[in-house]
């Protein structure tokens, strides 16, 4: 399912216009992206949580050529599935 299909499913489920559904979906994912870009945690009960993990710079290797490469410090979001969703996916 992609974003457009999600919007259309929400429109039908909630009986709202397509533009309203699009706004809700946009607000939902934008709020989470915003929070993470500020380094904040995200906790959506029943669905998932995210936190931003910081990685220091390190020397890595190009697995193909074996050349050393310097990996600069980076931040990546860490995803943790919520309990309800985890149980539902695995049932």
């Amino acid at each position: 399912m992609n974003k457009l299909e999600l919007i259309s499913a929400l429109k039908n489920e909630a009986n709202i216009s397509k533009s309203e559904a699009a706004k809700v979906v946009q607000i939902f994912f934008d709020s989470m992206a915003d929070a993470m870009s500020k380094g904040e945690r995200v906790e959506i009960r029943g669905l998932c949580s995210f936190f931003v993990k910081k990685y220091k710079s390190y020397v890595g290797r190009n697995p193909k050529t074996g050349d050393k490469v310097i990996i600069s410090p980076k931040k990546l979001p860490f995803f943790k599935s919520g309990k309800e969703l985890k149980d539902r996916v695995d049932s």
Binding site: N2, L10, E13, S37, I44, G46, R88, D90
Partner: protein, 93 residues
Amino acid sequence: MALTKAQIVETVQKEIGLPKKSSTELIEDLLEIIKRTLEAGEDVLISGFGKFCVKQKRARRGRNPATGDDLMLSPRRVLTFKCSGKLRKRINS
């Protein structure tokens, strides 16, 4: 401070101009659709954000880390998230 559902509902309320009750219901509907889709084994791909993937894990021999006992882990389905390049850039800028 962590971002929670309550703040998202508040933003929906402000930006769309709906009462709090309907805004809450809209977000709950959205969450339910996402959960239902993943439950059915279908991935959810949000461009500009990332992809929620359902992965099938095979049975494997594991170990109880506390006691060191061998045990079999049954086949199961787990969720993974792959961050989009756009989100990654936004977090790192």
